[in-house]
Symmetry: C2
Subunit: 168 residues, 2 copies
């Protein structure tokens, strides 16, 4: 059976060592807090304005300013900065926290499309950092697609409660 | 609605700032890799020999040497060392990876019992590190209990597949 990591690498096309090349340099020290805030603000401005309603609707129950803060605090923590996310919200628990959302291949690609645009239009992100971050994001997006598929077995288990009921 | 973090703090009795006091010092630099290997070996020796069959059986489908490596690589990564876990297995994704297991309050307490014993009998762990780690473990154990409860809604949804079948 393929592991989450193997699926993430195969589906994203990003080998594990490239996905975690963000750990070779301290991107937080290099880019600074404000750049991460700008990046996440830029990203979610695009997401909440997405012309594709199916994607925009995934975020309909989340407040934009909270989504921005959750994201940049995680990025800062994961890329060499202080553990802002865990201090406020606990473990990242990426798969667990994405459980309410339909993280499909299509959704992963749309997320990555907006993130690429955001990286390209946020000032002060050098090309090397951009490549490292995009590899990390691409691998992580498909790691979450793989995690999302774990939900299905449970949903397909026949449940006692339903026996004899008509749920059609 | 309570967040995962709020439930973890309430149920464990460990406030968030104490849970993440592991981030105040670099425990990996202080203790060294071998101490983490010894701790996880000590811990899983106890778990796999547990006289309580209900707890031992949770680990029956996992190999002990793999369980040891997964654990110390995560601890090393989370406590200031190199990202050994992610390089090999990807994101920790604590809730997602614990999904196959019944992480109940009772199981959390049993896990913590063995970890306290392991900490107390592994050489070269000073009292301050021990307290910081135990607070982190206690909070995290209940974070996972909270994460485990997320599974239930899905399981209780009546499923179409089962309609008319007798699953008793």
């Amino acid at each position: 059976m393929q592991t989450l990591q193997q699926k993430a690498s195969e589906w994203s096309g990003v080998p594990t060592n490239e996905a975690f090349s963000i750990d070779e340099t301290n991107l937080f020290q290099k880019l600074g807090l404000q750049t991460f805030i700008n990046l996440s603000t830029n990203f979610y401005n695009r997401v909440y304005d997405d012309e594709q309603e199916w994607f925009r609707s995934i975020f309909a129950n989340s407040k934009k300013d909270e989504a921005i803060q959750n994201q940049y605090e995680f990025f800062v923590q994961r890329m060499g900065g202080p553990p802002l996310f865990s201090q406020r919200r606990g473990h990242p628990a990426l798969i667990g926290r994405h459980r309410p959302f339909p993280v499909t291949h299509q959704a992963a690609e749309r997320w990555l499309h907006h993130m690429q645009q955001a990286l390209d239009t946020t000032p002060d992100i050098d090309d090397d950092s951009k490549i490292k971050m995009m590899n990390f994001f691409r691998h992580t997006a498909y790691f979450l697609v793989a995690g999302d598929e774990l939900k299905n077995p449970n949903e397909q288990i026949p449940c006692k409660h339903a026996a004899g009921k008509d749920n059609s």
